[in-house]
């Protein structure tokens, strides 16, 4: 008994069947690929968004504004209190006149501010905390509020959190979509294999009569499922890669208008391997279901 040659026989049989009906085999693979490309494309886009989000500094900054009436002594007092916090990594002081200068330079509002009688901006401290967990930051914010002459404490992590939450939501949607479509694909494969089994009914019967084990009869159908899944995975990869190329034409042009360089990156090797593994597994599962349900019904009637 040589199991390797048995597998070769099964594989040869299936490849022969594919070659025998290339059109319908290709069609089944394309259906598989198109269906898979939906969650895969979404996943690729989200990965790209995540990449962009990762490039933005996610360390939160806390800005402490002193009340407008605070003088230099008050500021020094706050400064010495800030040094006592062990949850603060570093901080810098922005004097109100300096802040106004920066504002004028960055916005070009010189004309407008020229009409102001006095500087409306308060003194401020920009603080970089050690921890970035939301609970810790909130506590720090409350402590800072208790300092004398402090008017307002701003935590500017909200937008980063929103972006992260959106990415997370996108991933959840992708996951749900992948699970649902995966299930649909399993059913589709199962149906393809069922038709295969029915069309091979005679062969199955005869093989059983001359001593084929269940495993021998199952094997080609399981191979069929795996190959269909693998082909579908490759097709999905191809579709998504082509889609990214098309999108990139527009995106690169758009980015140029904003004087930025940006393009959607293709899937990584690990992702591709996972995809192929996943799609093969789906095909195998579909075949396994069909084989389990239908082979027992074909008993020889010699």
């Amino acid at each position: 008994m040589n199991w390797l040659s048995q597998h070769r026989v099964a594989l040869g049989l299936i490849l022969g069947r594919f070659a025998h009906a290339p059109f319908s085999s290709l069609l089944a693979i394309i259906v598989f690929g198109v269906t898979l490309s939906l969650p895969l494309g979404l996943y690729t886009l989200i990965e790209n968004v995540k990449l962009v989000a990762g490039n933005v500094r996610l360390e939160p900054q806390i800005t402490v504004f002193l009340s407008p009436g605070a003088n230099a002594d008050n500021a020094r007092q706050v400064e010495s209190r800030l040094k006592e916090f062990n949850t603060i990594k570093q901080f810098r002081f922005i004097q109100r006149d300096q802040a106004l200068q920066e504002l004028l330079q960055s916005t070009g509002l010189v004309d407008v501010t020229a009409g102001l009688e006095r500087n409306p901006l308060p003194d401020a401290f920009v603080i970089e905390p050690k921890s970035i967990n939301p609970g810790g930051l909130e506590n720090l914010r409350k402590d800072l509020m208790k300092l004398p002459k402090v008017d307002k404490v701003l935590l500017d992590t909200a937008w980063a959190e929103r972006l992260n939450a959106m990415v997370r939501l996108g991933r959840d949607i992708t996951l749900i979509l992948a699970v649902l479509l995966g299930f649909a694909l399993m059913v589709i494969t199962s149906n393809t294999i069922r038709l295969q089994i029915l069309s091979q009914r005679e062969e199955i019967e005869i093989s059983t009569l001359i001593g084929a084990t269940d495993a021998f009869i199952r094997r080609p159908f399981l191979y069929h499922g795996v190959l269909q899944g693998l082909g579908g995975g490759l097709a999905a990869w191809l579709i998504v890669s082509l889609g990214l190329q098309l999108l990139n034409f527009g995106i690169v042009d758009l980015a140029k208008l904003y004087a930025a360089q940006f393009r959607l990156l293709p899937l990584g090797t690990n992702d591709i391997l996972s995809l192929l593994l996943f799609s093969s597994l789906l095909g195998w599962l579909g075949a396994f279901l069909a084989v389990g349900r239908h082979l027992r019904r074909i008993e020889p009637r010699a």
């Binding site: 008994m1 005869i206 001593g211």
Partner: protein
Amino acid sequence: MISFSQVYKRYPGGHEALKNLSFTIEAGEMAFITGPTGAGKSTLLKLVAAIEKPSSGSVVVSGQNIGKLRRSAVPFLRRNFGLIFQDHKLLYDRNVLENVILPLDIAGLQRAESMKRARAALDKVNLLGLEKANPISLSGGEQQRLCVARAIVNRPAIVLADEPTGNLDADYAGEIMEMFKSFNQVGVTLLIATHDESLIARYSSRVLHLKQGELLI
């Protein structure tokens, strides 16, 4: 080799195909089962090949009790048999050689060895020149010979044949029977069901007469 003792076979619906059958066929024997259509010849062969199980009594083949055989053990028992059917049961999407190789693939033989044995089997039934042909293009006699080649390619200890000459004219039928005789001479046990009494008369083999499921002595 094959031993029936008080075997009954009832099909669902109450039809009693075999009644109180007891006989033994020794290794190396060649025996005919005869009787009119519906006498239970096919049922008897199905019991031997574990396609059906007896309703009561015991069928023992090569030391194995068919009635108590596990499903997973059946394929390995069947590999001891060469089965020949009246309707050939050939695969028409494969060529002649591939049809003969099927039992060897199932048994898990190496390709090179399979090829050698398949050609030898085809040679024995004088079909060597038609390896690449599709079975559908063969005549009835050639198809039956192909079926014989497939049955013997795995060197079975027992050959079971159900009406092997049913659709053949006398010359072809005689040819097939001569082949069976030659297998028997090299030690193969044969059990042949046929209603063709004239064919049996030419051989001095043992004959089991069935009538309405009962064995006539």
